[in-house]
């Protein structure tokens, strides 16, 4: 039973830790499916987290924080769009620039406004997206096996976490069952086909990066107002890049994206769980080794265990009308 409880705990934190990855990964999916590579997920998430922390602290409203985060992240997404769609700039350079801007400006603004070394002051519970207890969670707690799974694992997460997982089937539906999705997939493969079919490539791609902005905004809000109680500098901690790796594992598909994010979340949870405790046969493993595991796994998996991941064919290339 001890092992079972420990497992539930690890899985519970797996879910918690994979939510920001999942949101960022789905965000990237919209943009990259439309042919716009976005290495700036990290920066948008960070800027979103700062906006969420700052506005939630000042207004005391979690929803205000969420709205601010989405606004800021969408703004940055539009900057990326302006550079790479309208001006046909290099998408990687634009994305990296956004990461730098976000990393620097959040600290400077944080220091200027709150003078706490780049962090925002602690946001109290009313300004956060705290855990939600699902109906009957308490009454079924004592049912063997299923009880703890429901009340510990499934119940008790932030509203944004449920939103993130709901976004997976929703994204699948949008991609494969709607006109917008058909066009989005087409424009990432062959924008000329979309153009000659009488659809605006520019407007379509802008809509895709706006979707990316919204989701990274939610991801940032989750970091600042659900996982933590405010913004801390560099709190995205490379999650935007891990989300990109997950997107490649998942071959740009929503459900595999969720599984990949859960895997990374699990590794993260294990790192926290076993960090510092001696392992049988191996002894004490330095926590850095465990923390490095997701990155090691990324390299190993990408080196050939997942088969060929073919990105959208027009990805990274600005569309120029020929002739």
């Amino acid at each position: 039973m001890d092992f079972f409880n420990a497992l539930i705990l690890v899985l519970d934190s797996t879910i918690r830790l994979s939510v920001p990855l999942l949101l960022a990964c789905l965000a990237g999916l919209y943009s990259e499916r439309s042919g716009i590579f976005d290495i700036g997920l990290e920066g948008k998430m960070l800027a979103g987290a700062f906006a969420a922390g700052a506005v939630a602290y000042i207004s005391g409203s979690a929803w205000g924080g969420l709205a601010a985060a989405i606004l800021v992240a969408v703004f940055l997404a539009l900057v990326h769009g302006f550079a790479s769609i309208t001006h046909r700039g290099n998408q990687i350079v634009s994305g990296v620039a956004i990461n730098f801007i976000a990393a620097g400006s959040t600290i400077i603004l944080g220091q200027a406004w709150f003078a706490q070394g780049g962090r925002t002051p602690s946001v109290d519970a009313s300004g956060r997206f705290g855990p939600i207890t699902l109906p009957f969670a308490d009454s079924v707690r004592d049912v063997p096996v299923l009880g703890p799974i429901y009340s510990e694992l499934i119940s008790g997460h932030s509203l944004l976490a449920y939103l993130a997982f709901a976004a997976v089937p929703f994204t699948w539906w949008v991609l494969f069952r709607t006109r917008f999705g058909l066009r989005l997939r087409a424009v990432g493969e062959n924008p000329a086909a979309v153009d000659t079919a009488g659809i605006s490539v520019t407007w379509l791609r802008y809509r895709a990066v706006i979707c990316t902005g919204i989701l990274t905004g939610v991801a940032g809000t989750y970091l600042a107002l659900a996982m933590n109680a405010g913004f801390v500098k560099d709190m995205s901690a490379g999650r935007g890049y891990i989300a990109l790796a997950a997107l490649i594992f998942a071959k740009w598909k929503p459900v595999p994206a969720m599984l990949a994010c859960l895997l990374f979340g699990f590794l993260d949870a294990m790192a926290i769980r076993i960090g510092g405790t001696p392992l049988p046969f191996i002894g004490r493993v330095p926590v850095q080794v465990i923390q490095a595991l997701p990155f090691v796994l990324t390299v190993i998996l990408l080196a050939g265990f997942i088969g060929k991941a073919i990105p959208p064919r027009a990805g990274g290339q600005p569309y120029v009308k020929e002739r």
Binding site: R179, N190, A197
Partner: protein, 510 residues
Amino acid sequence: MAEAAIELVGINKSFGAVHANRDIHLSIPKGTIHGIIGENGAGKSTLMSILYGFYEADSGDINVNGRKVAIRTPNDAISFGIGMVHQHFMLVENFTVLENIILGAEGEALLNRSIAKARSELHRLERDYGLEVDPDAIIEELPVGLQQRVEILKALYRGADILILDEPTGVLTPAEADHLFRILRQLKDEGKTVVLITHKLREIMAVTDNVSVMRQGQMVATRKTSETTVEELAELMVGRRVLLRVEKGEAKPGEVKLSVRDLMVKDSRGVTMVEGVSFDVRAGEIVGIAGVAGNGQSELLETVSGIRKAVSGTVMLDGKPIDVSGVTDPGDLRDRGLAHVPEDRHHVGLVLPFEESENAILGYHDEPQFLRGPFLDRGKVVAAASDQIAKYDIRPPNPHLKTANFSGGNQQKIVLAREMEQDPGVLIVGQPTRGVDVGAIEFIHKRLIAMRDMGKAVLLVSVELDEIRSLSDRILVMFDGRIVGERGPDATEGELGLLMAGVDRKEAAE
């Protein structure tokens, strides 16, 4: 004359200093197949792009079915019943046929109903026009002929009454092209108007009712196809008399220069591309290799010219073996008198951002004649380039111009001049006239014949059957990596076409 489906009145379009379309007047009667012919850069594609809403004309009017219209986007064109089949297919390769057909014409925000509607509509089009294609097939798994059919279906699904086809047969086998023409005739019988843009005279004669000729941005003539000849059209296109059939004397084959035995080549995926290929090329003859693109000719060329490894087999140059098991240094082969005009001049034959003079000596740049000590002697390089420019009539005659700024035909002349001027014993030529204008084709053909008459061994690979037939002294047909037959230069097109399609004459008779 019937009412005009399309009427262009005084269309003008300039790109910077280039006047691409100059005061174009054109009337295309309803229910006819109308050919538009002209050299590359004559302005055919620009004109059609204006009609399809890619560009807006600087001045002039477009009337569709007698009504003056403004076409600013492809959407406008579609709404006026104009459909276009592009030279490079506008298909999403990993989508199904159905998905490609509804893209942009979905009708509503959710796909379920539009897919069901498209499916039944597709059945109707299949029934009415004999345009069969599996609606659930993935585009990239279909042969090009079927992909083109999907493009036609796309236009018809959008209710096109006027169908524009831009160079539709470039990627087709002769049989596929004939099938396409049958489809076009059937579309005409159903009352559709077809506009066929091409630079191939044979197609114009085969299928059109009327033909308009463009030259240097102007519409120079319109003829009834039945009242004109290939010679007249060629002259109108080029602006002077053109010899379509090269005149050449009897070949005087000498000793064997290049000898290939049991060659087997695999591509990077490990698929066998060339198998059991053996042939000789003698001094003073042109051996042509015919075949539909992708049947191993490219791999054969690359192996013989030292770019690609062979799995087994031997290649002898002047009686001495070439090491084909490893990648031979093509530079060594050049030294031994083997010159190569690659199929893909943009990626293999030329460095497009370089100056013309640099490309004129590329691969021969370490020859003493171009060097002063360890350095290139720019003066000698430019002199050699100017010499080639004069001899091969490369235009514009500027050795300092960036190579990318030359037209396709002149780029090809740069490559040919470079390789021929080194006086090789063996010349390997891939697709010498791909994307090259009629006038330049005539010139290139003459030079190849001249090389033969100088006693060089020439190996020619081309997907243009006419070219193979008019130049070659012997014709080898490749199908599926093998040489499936050898014919003389008098072989009929039908005979070669069957071989190219992998059909044995015996089988065909059954």
